[in-house]
């Protein structure tokens, strides 16, 4: 455990920026302050790379970076007593490992790009203040980074809530025509999840033989594990672990979002302004997956195994149902929103099968989708800024009138389609192959069904490309200006990362996180491998 202050800086700098946004004079200054803050946070977050550098350390780098067991090596840790209850101390405990590190970097990057994407806020014609927007925006960043860094369950919960409210306002105030409906839907859904999480938070605390909110300790302490996972421990008549897992899962499933808790997402996306959509798709959805991997799976592995089948089924439903719904959409942004649901299905499936390959695929998909989906949403936004509508069937021939934009859009959507050489492929492929070779008897049929998603994805994305970008040029779009320098500047990092992740998955991502993922796998590895040998499925090798 290495102590440090960098995370505190990353978490609270945006909050300071938010306050600054409220007091500095002039709307332009507000924008500059906000952009400077997000840029500074992004640059500072790059400092985290020194802990996870796989280069220049020789052969033993993996051991040096990740340590032996889960939670053994945490970086930039700050651990302070915060609130004392009788017998318990709620801690301010932040730190990162291979699971949270890529997500923190993703957060700071996408937030910075989204901040740049907010520069044309005056043209959104919502008539609301610039000041409030950027202040909330920065507050949101505090919440997001906080969620990924918090290692105390209580603190995690606090940040989770801190992030919820700004999002509600950003959609509800600066959104589109049906913004109130979308915002309240988002809020209620997420709040429902939060309430369940709160129940778990309290239950963990009261059932644990060691009074703690420490997420790492809850995962690695055998005494806690014994009580939590025991058959005899019951909660309101349910088996404790089962009940807790279900509660947590619903909370996180709403965020991912998992069918049937997904309908807030398309509405929220359609109404949210472009930058908020970028953050929503790029980062907020990832918190569900992160929560599963940080809390549910390490602490309740037995329940996870118990529900593996159900989760995998939900994952496959997400993939297929999301893709089919995406195909049916007439609103460009709704289509991209449903494609997010479909893509996050791979994440759930990869997590559900509980193997190292599956986890790698799921986390890769998390990051890859965190890059490709903001890109897609921004591409839609670029169009919306010019056309002021998003109806797919009214577009056409845009590759002719806006060639640079058309080419970037092709790249972005093919990354989303999962074309090899681009980021979407690795996650999808890893998850499919891992599912096929997972130690569950039901895994093969599941993989076959999930693979159908590959065809459906190609179908809806190409069909959309055809209707929007191909076809003869339409006179009403002839005068559209080509992408501006600012827009290209925003798209370029995502485009470059989409290619880099696709070509060099190991160097750009796997090396930073696989160590921790393996440790998480080890936490529940024994159970699964035992089951595998019982089922006689451990074959070939």
């Amino acid at each position: 455990m290495e102590h440090g202050n960098l995370l505190n800086l990353l978490i609270f700098l945006p909050a300071v920026g938010a306050v600054l946004c409220l007091i500095v004079p002039g709307t332009r200054t507000v924008k500059v302050v906000a952009t400077a803050t997000t840029a500074l946070v992004m640059l500072l977050s790059l400092g985290l790379f020194r802990h996870f550098a796989w280069w220049g350390r020789g052969d033993g780098w993996q051991e040096a970076v990740f340590g032996g067991t889960y939670g053994e090596r945490l970086y930039e840790v700050t651990r302070l007593d915060w609130i004392r209850l009788d017998g318990t101390t709620i801690q301010y405990f932040v730190g990162i490992d291979g699971l949270s590190f890529p997500l923190v970097i993703l957060t700071t990057l996408i937030t910075f790009l989204a901040c740049l994407a907010s520069w044309n806020i005056e043209s959104w014609k919502v008539g609301r203040g610039v000041r409030g927007y950027f202040a909330l925006f920065l507050l949101l960043e505090t919440g997001m980074i906080g969620v990924f860094c918090a290692l105390d369950f209580f603190l995690f919960y606090v940040f989770w809530e801190v992030m919820l409210l700004p999002m509600y306002f950003l959609i509800g105030v600066w959104g589109g025509p049906r913004r109130e409906y979308a915002a309240i839907k988002f809020f209620l859904y997420t709040l429902a999840g939060s309430v369940l999480m709160l129940v778990v938070l309290l239950a963990f605390h009261f059932y644990s033989p060691v009074r703690t909110f420490d997420l790492i300790e809850m995962a690695v302490n055998d005494r806690i594990a014994a009580v939590f996972n025991a058959e005899t421990t019951s909660f309101l008549g349910w088996k404790f672990a089962t009940a807790m897992f279900v509660f947590l899962f619903i909370g996180f499933a709403i965020k991912i979002p998992v069918f049937p808790f997904h309908t807030w997402l398309p509405d929220a996306h359609v109404e949210a302004p472009t930058p908020i959509s970028m953050i929503l798709a790029g980062i907020l959805l990832k918190m569900g997956a992160y929560g599963l991997l940080r809390i549910s799976y390490p602490i309740l592995p037995a329940a996870a195994e118990h529900f593996a089948y159900a989760l995998a089924v939900l994952g496959v439903i997400n993939i297929l149902y999301g893709a089919l719904c995406a195909m049916a959409q007439t609103d460009f942004k709704r289509l991209v929103a449903y494609s997010s649901i479909s893509h996050m299905g791979y994440v759930l499936l990869g997590i559900a099968i509980m193997t190292a390959a599956g986890l790698q695929g799921a986390m890769f998909q998390v990051i890859a989708h965190g890059i490709s989906s903001p890109m897609c949403f921004f591409l839609v936004g670029v169009l919306y800024d010019r056309a002021h509508h998003r109806e797919i069937d009214r577009f056409g021939g845009l590759w002719l009138s806006m060639p640079v934009y058309g080419s970037l859009a092709t790249l972005g959507f093919f990354a989303s389609l999962g074309l090899p050489g681009l980021c979407g492929f690795i996650g999808e492929f890893w998850v499919l192959v891992a599912t096929f070779s997972a130690p569950f008897a039901w895994a093969r049929p599941m993989a076959v069904l999930a693979a159908v998603g590959v065809v459906l994805t190609a179908g809806y994305i190409l069909w959309m490309l055809q209707r929007v970008y191909l076809g003869p040029a339409r006179p009403e779009y002839e005068s559209f200006p080509e992408v501006t320098g600012r827009e290209v500047f925003i798209l370029t990092p995502m485009a470059v990362l989409a290619v880099a992740l696709g070509i060099l998955p190991q160097q750009t991502l796997f090396n930073f996180m696989n160590g921790t993922l393996e440790q998480i796998c080890e936490l529940y590895g024994d159970g699964v491998s035992m089951m595998a040998s019982v089922a006689g499925m451990c074959l070939g090798r």
């Binding site: 007593d81 049937p260 719904c325 002719l400 090899p420 065809v455 190609a458 179908g459 191909l470 040029a473």
Partner: protein
């Protein structure tokens, strides 16, 4: 890395550089410079690969083996390392040279083809974009050829699919072109779905995704009677067979085999040079190439399926080609048919013959496609052969070179001698092997080949060579089917189709170039372009000489041990070939004669026959109604499902959510007079209204209040820090 590998790698990467250059600065380079940049890039690749061929020829087996270096790590899947490297062997060298050589001349041709207005999309020149895509394609295709692992193969496999999509849809202002592009990509994805699952099986059972490693472990696993691979799977086939069949699915898509052949004819929407390069010579043959690479993973049952798919495809393609009137469609269906021959060859064990046919086909089919491009461009985009005729006067070189292509595909040669064109050797070799697998006692050519062959596959021959060639090498493991003769249809159907092939090709050539001009307008404007004639002559020369002298030995050298027909002059095969001569040797003469007899006096005679055979003609004209069937069942089914999902989402899922929120509000109404009044005030029934009410809270927020909220929240967070620090300090 050895210098040979570096040369191949460089030759692969150069077109990528050209793509990047053209993508970023292509518009500035303009027309025709952008085209020459791309051409120079692929020509450089061609020179490099030519040097590789020359050096390879001069090396002995030991030096060749030594020239291969270990692959480098790329990434890790689970705990299985994935490595990438150059798959340096004779087959790679041969196919690599074919691809670069044909590509180079198609590039040259393209500059001529695009010189007019063919590069325009909706009136705007996209010259550089065309060549950028061509360069990207060359890179992807060459990458596919040198890939030494299944994952890397799959990566490039999809990339060539992307290029195919982009180039079929090059004239994307035409709805038919973009629809064809989508069809190609999606149909290929159906095959790739199987490919991915096949990779899953390889990962699961073999735990090694490199070609060599998978082959080795497959042989080991098959040798172990208790191995999971030998367990029964669905449909009574064992897991080993399923593994091969799933991988083969990919090849079915890419090589347009039945039942996924439907995309290739539509792909003719692309510019003609693209049809020549991607949809005739190189990419569509990649499926056959893949089967060649995974041949050692295919069990006898799997091979039977491969042969069956090939047999159906070659028949289907040939029959439909007979009635096509679009010159490119004739060629497209003939491509499907020829790919079927290659697949059949793979299936019956004519590994060398199939690849040999792949290489010769690349030359003569590219030649004919370019010829058709010359005709189409020369006739102002007229593609209907019924409106052509008599073009030999206007296009003598095109006419002559096209005829060479027709002779080659028809398998023309002088029986009993070694004088003949590509198809004469390659197609007949496939037929000869099929014959010996059907009727032979299995001794033909059953002899291990030279030392350069890689480790024997699991289906290697028995030592004595008395049993059939494809008997499992491991004692105690007997596949009953392995030594059983193949169904006779697998020989007789391709033989009959060998008579149809010369017929439809001669019909196409005759209607285009011979006879009287049937459309004065088309005829009057027809002309030949100098830049486009040169590639025709070069490829015609290639068709005449290259196939036999260069390619066959290169391919033969890497054939998995124990295959039939190890060498071209292996005398058993030669004998079979001779024995077949009475059956197929004269096929081209018969086919040509019938075609000329039918069309010598124009279209009337054929039309009369078509009227007489109305139902059959209809069936062929509609390509056996595959498009209609798939459109109804698959596309229609998907649209139905999509509509159902959408309805479910909006009515059921959202309905429940909205009803929940509505009932919450209703509950709240009773709780307070204030709220009650407000709701009554806005009394409109229905969910939308209710939710609007719910959202009212957010809507009524003033900026000032938000500011207050933020101050509170930010203040709270700051206070939290302060408390934390205070507590810690």
């Amino acid at each position: 890395m050895s210098s040979l590998e570096l040369m191949l790698l460089a030759a692969t990467v150069i077109p990528l550089g050209s793509f990047l250059l053209l993508a970023l600065a292509g518009a500035r380079l303009g027309k025709p410079l952008a085209g020459w940049v791309a051409t120079a890039a692929i020509a450089a690749s061609c020179v490099l690969s030519g040097l590789v061929v020359v050096r390879w020829q001069g090396m002995d087996a030991a030096a060749r083996a030594a020239a291969r270096s270990a692959p480098v790590p790329w990434t890790v899947l689970g705990d299985v390392p994935l490595e990438v490297g150059v798959n340096l062997d004779g087959l790679t060298v041969a196919v690599f040279f074919m691809v670069t050589f044909v590509s180079t001349w198609i590039h040259v041709f393209s500059i001529g083809y695009m010189a007019g207005h063919s590069d325009e999309i909706d009136g705007r020149s996209k010259f550089h974009r065309f060549f950028a895509f061509l360069s990207l394609f060359c890179f992807s295709m060459l990458g596919l050829v040198i890939a030494d692992s299944l994952v890397l193969t799959f990566v490039f496999w999809e990339l060539v699919g992307l290029c195919s999509y982009l180039l079929i849809g090059f004239y994307f202002h035409k709805p038919s072109a973009s629809a064809a592009a989508i069809k190609a990509f999606v149909v290929n994805r159906v095959g790739d779905m199987g490919f991915i699952l096949g990779l899953g099986m390889v990962f699961w059972f073999l735990g090694d995704l490199s070609l060599a490693g998978a082959a080795r472990r497959f042989a080991e696993a098959c040798g172990d009677p208790g191995s999971a691979l030998r367990q029964a799977g669905p449909l009574g086939l064992d897991m080993a067979t399923w593994l091969g069949l799933l991988l083969f699915c990919g090849a079915v898509g890419k090589s347009a085999q039945f039942p996924l052949h439907v995309w290739l004819p539509d792909a003719m929407e692309g510019p003609t040079p693209v049809s020549a390069l991607i949809h005739a010579a190189t990419m569509v043959a990649a499926g056959v190439y893949l089967v060649a690479r995974i041949f050692v993973l295919l069990t006898p049952q799997a091979l039977l399926v491969v042969a069956g798919a090939g047999c159906i495809t070659l028949t289907l393609g040939a029959l439909v080609a007979v009635v096509q009137t679009d010159i490119k469609k004739v060629l497209a269906y003939s491509t499907i048919s020829q790919l079927g021959y290659m697949m059949l060859g793979m299936g019956v064990g004519a590994w060398i013959g199939a690849l040999f046919h792949l290489l010769t086909h690349a030359f003569f089919k590219a030649l004919m496609f370019l010829g058709s491009g010359q005709v189409i461009e020369g006739c102002h985009h007229e593609q209907d052969i019924r409106r052509m005729g008599g073009l030999w006067r206007r296009m003598p070189v095109t006419c002559a070179t096209f005829l060479i292509g027709v002779l080659a595909i028809a398998g023309a040669g002088i029986p009993g001698t070694s004088v003949g064109l590509g198809g004469f050797f390659s197609k007949d070799e496939i037929l000869a092997v099929a014959y010996s697998r059907v009727y032979g006692d299995g001794t033909h050519g059953a002899r291990p080949h030279g030392s350069a062959a890689p480790a024997a596959g699991p289906w290697a021959m028995t030592e004595t060579g008395h049993r059939s060639a494809l008997t499992h090498a491991v004692p105690g493991v007997e596949h009953a089917q392995a030594s059983a003769p193949l169904p006779a249809l697998l020989f007789w159907v391709p033989v009959i189709v060998a008579y149809i092939t010369p017929f439809y090709m001669m019909r196409c050539w005759w209607l285009t170039f011979m006879g009287r001009p049937r459309d004065d307008h088309v005829h009057a404007h027809a002309r030949e372009s100098a830049l486009m004639v040169v590639p025709l002559v070069v490829l015609a020369a290639g068709t005449l000489v290259c196939g036999l002298v260069l390619f066959r030995p290169l391919v033969a050298e890497v054939a998995p041990a124990g295959l039939l027909a190890p060498t071209v002059d292996g005398h058993e095969l030669h004998e079979v070939h001779h024995a077949l001569m009475p059956i197929v040797g004269g096929a081209f003469v018969v086919g040509f004669a019938v075609a000329i007899a039918l069309y010598a006096r124009g279209l009337s005679l054929a039309a009369a026959i078509a009227r007489r055979l109305r139902p059959l003609h209809r069936l062929l004209e509609h390509k056996f109604y595959f498009d209609e069937l798939y459109g109804l069942v698959l596309v229609g089914g998907t649209h139905l499902l999509k509509g159902l999902c959408d309805l479910f989402d909006r009515i059921v899922v959202d309905g429940i959510v909205d009803a929940l929120s509505a009932s919450t509000v209703r509950l709240a109404r009773f709780s307070g007079r204030d709220l009650d009044e407000r709701v009554v005030d806005g009394a409109v029934n229905g969910v939308g209204r209710t939710t609007w009410e719910l959202g009212g809270a957010a809507g009524s927020l003033q900026t000032g209040r938000i500011r207050l909220y933020i101050l509170l929240a930010a203040g709270g967070v700051t206070a939290m820090v302060w408390l934390a620090l205070a507590a810690g300090g």
